[in-house]
């Protein structure tokens, strides 16, 4: 079986390369269900810092498998080389399908622009984080570190998802990086660089530069730099921030990435199937593309097929766009650009832009997402879907002022877009922020249709 798997890994790799995919080396490993549950709980890595949340997730995955409610066929980590885990005990066909699927994921990680700034050595990085947390636990007590992790994790979505893509001009953000400091991983900073000299008396008092210089969404980063915390606590905030940023593109490309992988495993495997395998393949495929729940595999796959067809049949460009809907459905102008277009889509899009560009009324009609008479509500429905894909379904919150009312208090602002916040949870998060910042924390949002200031600590 092992040998057979290896043989097929090679065959599929060659086919994938021949068809135009390209990717770094992929290492496959077969793991049992418990190990798979562990890897899933750890977000695809063999080692994470110690926290009960992973234990809870692990239990959930393990029980889900045990009661036969679902199994994880595969996990891929975006690393160099790419690490992929296959579930031991699956049939050879399932493993073949999964391997083809994985090669496409690897190709996606490698080429999609959203993944450009993501470090490829995250496996080692996560292990460093684990070691850092363990050390902190030894020194400061497991419970106090756990308590701090609980606080920090409740802020894990308060990051600027674009942080890794922004290249600031030199000197644009003075406060961001003082000179004369070694550039190291942020959490190492307090250990490598000496603490800044205490301010001279004359410099004390009001700083002329407002803090932060401009509103920022990078609240975790801001706290790590400015909150009155011990170095290990700042280190933990940096760790949480860095790991959150790592997952940003994965969350932002879920539909496209899964659609891409499904498109390719279908394309690579179909010609290789023996007649006996065809039925099993169909069964697996049907399960994968089943229309219950919001199924990113299904939506991504169908939409990519649609893009391929449109660009094969010349259904694009100003001439096509100008046609009325009815004619667009049957328009044909052989161009054969489908595959080329697919590769481009895989490179430049995230889910949000992908759906925005290609989720058309024609597609909705063809896939029976809507009846013709329901077409008028298509724009609204699409808008709701796009909203859901924005910022990983999290509200957008900015830190506006860290010296609110000249009292050293923090003012946050929720970019209200018509959906209100969960007040109980938000209040709990504000309390957590207050504990970190040591001064009252406020959040401007809309409650019951009225602008409201939520506060903690005052």
């Amino acid at each position: 079986m092992r040998k057979e798997l290896r043989r097929w890994a090679e065959i599929l790799r060659e086919r994938a390369l021949a068809e135009g995919l390209s990717f770094p080396p992929v290492l496959f490993e077969e793991v049992g269900p418990e190990e798979m549950a562990m890897l899933a709980a750890y977000g695809g890595f063999p080692r994470r810092y110690s926290h009960w949340r992973f234990g809870s997730e692990y239990l959930r995955y393990r029980e889900t498998y045990r009661y036969g409610l679902g199994r994880i066929y595969e996990l891929v980590a975006n690393t160099y080389p790419v690490h992929a885990y296959l579930l031991k005990g699956n049939t050879l066909l399932a493993q073949k399908l999964v391997m083809a699927h994985v090669y496409a994921h690897a190709d996606f990680f490698h080429h999609n622009l959203a993944f450009k700034p993501i470090p490829k050595d995250m496996e080692a990085e996560m292990a460093h984080h684990a070691a850092f947390v363990e050390k902190a636990m030894e020194r400061h007590g497991a419970r106090s570190v756990e308590e701090f992790l609980d606080l920090a994790l409740s802020l894990e979505n308060l990051i600027d998802p674009h942080a890794l893509y922004i290249q600031r001009q030199a000197g644009e953000d003075k406060e961001e990086r003082p000179p004369d400091r070694l550039q190291v991983r942020p959490y190492l900073d307090p250990y490598v660089n000496p603490p800044p000299a205490p301010p001279k008396e004359a410099e004390e008092g009001a700083s002329p530069i407002p803090l932060p210089p401009r509103p920022t969404r990078d609240i975790l980063g801001f706290l790590a730099r400015h909150a009155p915390l011990a170095p290990w606590q700042k280190g933990i905030l940096e760790i949480i921030r860095e790991e959150s940023l790592y997952y940003v593109p994965q969350v932002a490309t879920k539909i496209l990435n899964e659609g891409w992988a499904t498109y390719w495993h279908t394309r690579l495997l179909l010609p290789l199937l023996s007649p006996e395998e065809a039925l099993e393949f169909a069964e697996l495929q049907a399960g994968l593309l089943a229309p219950h729940g919001f199924n990113p595999y299904r939506l991504g796959y169908l939409l990519l097929k649609e893009v391929e067809e449109r660009w094969d049949k010349g259904r694009f460009g100003p001439e096509y766009e100008a046609l009325p809907l009815g004619e667009r459905l049957t328009y044909e102008r052989p161009t054969g650009l489908g595959l080329k277009q697919l590769f481009q889509v895989r490179t430049v899009h995230t889910d949000l832009s992908f759906l925005d560009s290609f989720l058309t009324p024609e597609f909705a009609l063809r896939q029976r997402l809507l009846n013709p008479e329901e077409l008028p509500r298509f724009p609204e429905a699409k808008k709701a879907l796009l909203f859901r894909l924005t910022n990983g379904s999290y509200p957008i919150v900015e830190l506006v002022d860290a010296n609110y009312g000249n009292r050293g208090e923090i003012l946050l602002e929720h970019a209200y877009e018509g959906v209100e916040l969960d007040l109980k949870k938000t209040q709990a998060v504000l309390e957590n922020l207050y504990r970190l910042w040591g001064r009252p924390v406020h959040l401007k949002t809309v409650v019951g249709g009225k602008e409201t200031l939520l506060s903690a600590g005052s």
Binding site: G55, F294, Y394, P395, K425, T426, V429
Partner: protein, 347 residues
């Protein structure tokens, strides 16, 4: 231990702490009642979810792409679920509510077959080989055949020397119990009071069962007359009429005859509003005096609303308050449940 197992242990520890903290709340959580028949109890503990700034309503989509299903987009906030063995759950509840351990009254008669590896056989699986006995046989053989030399005591067991541990079934006495619930349905019990009774008898049953796995349950209703019912009828029933507490006690005495006290730990629970007919109380007390020494516990819970005027509790305490095996308490509302439960179990 793998790090993930450590995280899991820590999670379970946190869950146990949370269950204990919320024991009072679970007492009245009726959705639990259904599950506890099984072996595992699972309780969602949203309190353990790490709070985040999230939207207050699920973000829908309107394109028939499937509603909130198995695979949902966005924040994957899975509510942590505590999965506990029923016994562990009960022990945590017991600890938090300081419920007393129940001690068996004498040994029960019913025996349980228990296999113990106490004998030796000539055949058996390799894993059960009894080395010492095998060598002993070897030595015997060596001595008989004269192969044994004390200066070089080498023993080589042969096939016929081999001895194995073997099981033998052993009867084991096992404590058993019967619990009898009597409910006064004389009309003054409202829906809310009945709910309290249901909650109490549910937990009483579980707690007794925790100590006596062989537990039989009997139910009776009464107003001026008493009659036996099934469990479901017990919780559904509503009748009207006067109250003669003695009727229940006499019927209980009759039913319990089938469970001789020598072999059974007999528990009798009586829920009433305490508004007994004048003139019946002496009779009831008389019956109780006879019954009490034969019971493990007689629990009397006077359940009444804000305007209740029952006085049987006082009469009972006055007449029999010093007797052992009497557990009497008053319940007015939910908030009395933890204490009432402890009292009724003899704590």
């Amino acid at each position: 231990m793998r790090p993930i197992e450590r995280d899991l242990l820590r999670f379970k520890e946190i869950v146990r702490g949370e269950v204990k903290k919320r024991a009072r709340e679970f007492l009245t959580r009726e959705e639990l009642f259904g599950q506890v028949e099984g072996r595992l109890v699972s309780i969602p503990l949203p309190q353990l979810e790490l709070p985040k700034i999230v939207y207050g309503e699920p973000l829908g989509e309107d394109l028939g792409l499937g509603g909130p299903g198995t695979e949902s987009l966005g924040p994957s906030g899975h509510v942590p679920v505590a999965e506990l063995e029923l016994e562990e759950f009960l022990d945590l509840m017991g600890e938090a509510l300081r419920l007393p351990r129940l001690r068996p009254k004498g040994e029960g008669e019913v025996t349980e077959e228990a296999f113990r590896y106490t004998t030796i056989a000539r055949k058996g699986p390799r894993g059960l080989r009894h080395v010492r006995r095998t060598l002993k046989e070897s030595l015997k053989r060596a001595l008989i055949t004269g192969e044994y030399r004390p200066e070089a005591p080498l023993l080589v067991p042969e096939r016929e020397d081999l001895r194995y541990k073997a099981p033998r079934s052993k009867p084991r006495p096992h404590a058993q119990a019967v619990v009898l619930f009597a409910l006064d349905v004389s009309g003054s019990m409202r829906e809310e009071e009945l709910r309290l009774v249901k909650t109490l008898s549910f937990w009483i049953t579980l707690w007794i069962k925790r100590h006596f796995p062989r537990l039989e349950r009997r139910y009776l209703l009464h107003d001026a007359e008493a009659w036996e019912v099934t469990e479901e009828e017990f919780f559904r029933a509503r009748e009207g009429g006067g109250t003669r507490l003695s009727s229940a006690l006499l019927l209980a005495e009759e039913i319990l005859k089938r469970y001789p006290e020598a072999f059974y730990n007999r528990y009798l629970y009586h829920f009433s509003d305490g508004e007994n007919w004048q003139g019946d109380t002496p009779q009831a007390l008389e019956a109780l005096r006879r019954l009490l020494p034969t019971l493990a516990l007689y629990g009397y819970a006077q359940v009444q609303g804000p305007y209740g005027q029952g006085r049987f509790l006082e009469d009972l305490k006055e007449a029999l308050g010093k007797e052992e095996g009497l557990a009497a308490t008053e319940v007015h509302g939910k908030e009395d449940l933890p204490l009432a439960l402890r009292r009724l179990l003899g704590g």
